[in-house]
């Protein structure tokens, strides 16, 4: 039994290879698309067929909606898997797939549009009884209105673009003078970046933890959670290390969080896999932050503790098959940690493109989801992530111990990488205690100094 005959993968790098792997296992043919800069990339040769869709720049290739649709039609693909990033949360792309009768492996265009608006998402979550960060639920049109609202909420506040995400379109405001100073510019920036000038205010939460819940939902109203992922180790609002279970949650708090995530997802009739992101304050209060309506980079952490294949579940749900398991049948065992290996300076985070040489991975000791192989070129055009290292242990200590060993045995030359930083984090007391927040790297500047 096969969910589809042929799937086009509208992505590149490690996630394209990851999707191809599951398709191969299930006997599904794959179409890789690639830019001129990626002609030699591993995902191109691993797919059943491959089509060049344009020049290096993403907007002329991987983000070019009509070109991707055209290739899907020409190659007779039944479905498109968007991976993460690029077109994965682009409601217009999904609408075009729906129009052309190509199955989009993900939720509906309408759901993506709804969750793409942070303001609308807040309104929906409140309806479902899921707490959101204290703030406004309407667009702030003038600086006068913003000042009034801000006085009610109290500073410090975050001024946010409703269409923003991934740390872009956010501005911390400490007092009224600052709000008056940045209001117009933030609104304007939101307009030019996201083509939507809607902004709103939220309380700023100091020393937060970022914990998210993996959910799956079929087209028949079955909604399950696959536990949480702790993602608080970040640099520049981007995750560096993820783990599950979260060392911050006890069983009662975990249960409360997972139930809130399920309530939220049911409210919007979500389908396919998705992630509910929450922010925790110092007093263990948690608030809905945003929903990612796609597969996440860090999905392997969940796969390791549950033994499930999330890409297979995506295909199954997109093929309109019911989830044939109940929540009680989903168990987690042990502890998983993922480290993201970036081609960047480990101390300044400045990107470092180049040719990878001398890549040594101790294959038997961890799972390596990599976009590159020895001799591959990391071009300057896309994300700096080279790959992910994932370990699974019987306990958190065991997993940390395994990760320490794997990182020690790894080697990479030709590009600068954050491998030295990852090694230091795995040996940092605060990380080992599990008592870290998103301020971890700022608080441990010593990790960012060459020794």
């Amino acid at each position: 039994m096969s969910y589809f005959r042929k799937v086009l993968i509208a992505n590149r790098g490690e996630i394209a290879r990851r999707i191809i792997r599951t398709c191969k296992k299930l006997g599904i043919d794959t179409v890789a698309v690639y830019s001129e800069a990626d002609a030699e990339a591993p995902h191109v040769s691993e797919a059943t067929e491959a089509v060049c869709i344009g020049p290096a720049q993403a907007k002329k290739s991987y983000l070019y909606v009509e070109k991707v649709i055209q290739v899907a039609k020409e190659t007779n693909a039944d479905a498109i898997h968007p991976g993460y990033g690029f077109l994965s949360e682009n409601a217009e792309f999904v609408r075009r797939c729906e129009e052309e009768n190509i199955v989009f492996i993900g939720p509906s265009a309408e759901t993506i549009r709804l969750m793409g608006s942070k303001l609308e998402a807040r309104v929906q979550m409140k309806k479902a009884g899921v707490k959101v960060v204290p703030g406004t639920d309407r667009s702030l049109d003038s600086v006068e209105e913003a000042v009034l609202v801000a006085n009610e909420l109290g500073y410090p506040l975050m001024l946010k673009a409703s269409a923003g995400g991934g740390g872009i379109g956010m501005q911390l405001v400490l007092d009224q003078d600052e709000l008056i100073k940045v209001f117009d510019a933030t609104k304007q920036k939101a307009n030019s970046f996201f083509n939507d000038g809607t902004v709103f205010l939220e309380k700023w939460i100091s020393k937060p933890r970022h914990i998210e819940v993996q959910i799956v939902a079929d087209t028949y109203g079955n909604v399950l959670h696959l536990f949480e992922r702790e993602c608080s180790v970040q640099r520049r609002n981007q995750k560096v290390i993820e783990e599950s279970p979260s060392p911050f949650l006890d069983d009662a708090l975990r249960k409360e969080l997972l139930e809130a995530a399920i309530r939220g997802v049911k409210q919007i009739n979500y389908t396919n896999v998705g992630t509910m992101e929450f922010i925790f304050d110092e007093n263990k209060n948690f608030y809905f932050l945003e929903m990612n309506t796609r597969l996440q980079v860090e999905h392997p952490v969940t796969e390791e503790i549950t033994g499930l294949d999330l890409v297979e579940w995506q295909l199954k749900i997109a093929a309109k098959e019911p989830l044939a398991v109940s929540q009680e049948e989903i168990n987690k065992t042990g502890h998983a940690i993922e480290c993201r290996l970036y081609a960047e300076d480990p101390y300044t985070f400045f990107p470092s493109p180049g040719v990878i040489s001398g890549l040594e991975l101790p294959k038997d000791e961890a799972r390596f989801d990599f976009g590159y192989t020895n001799g591959s070129t990391v071009t300057p055009f896309y994300d700096a992530m080279i790959g992910k290292i994932i370990v699974h242990g019987i306990s958190r200590d065991h997993a940390i111990d395994k990760m320490q060993k794997v990182l020690e045995e790894m080697n990479i030359h030709g590009v600068k990488s954050n491998l030295p930083l990852l090694k230091k984090i795995m040996r940092n007391d605060q990380f080992i205690n599990g008592s870290y927040t998103t301020e971890f790297l700022n608080e441990n500047k010593g990790l960012l100094v060459e020794r």
């Binding site: 290096a56 720049q57 493109p353 071009t379 300057p380 055009f381």
Partner: protein, 82 residues
């Protein structure tokens, strides 16, 4: 005689002469520049690197167009010192 100084990009990436699509170019050909002035951007892995003038003079010519793909070390402009 006026000295010519070539401006190189130290990193590969996509070349931009404007700070944002709806903004004016940083500097027009023939404009005067001071040491430290930003004359262009290079986008590398979702980061923007500022190319700055390393000398005072007149930016005589750009050798690359907006959105051209650059190699590390490529010549992008020439400044004539005054």
């Amino acid at each position: 005689m006026a000295e010519q100084k070539t401006v190189l990009t130290p990193i590969p990436g996509v070349f931009y002469r404007k700070p944002a699509p709806d903004k004016d170019v940083y500097v027009k050909e023939g404009d005067a520049v001071k040491t430290g002035d930003v004359i262009a951007l290079v986008e590398v892995m979702k980061n923007f690197y500022e190319i700055k003038a390393e000398t005072e003079g007149v930016l005589a010519q750009f050798f690359v167009e907006d959105e051209d793909l650059l190699d590390a070390g490529q010549e992008i402009a020439v400044i004539i010192e005054q």
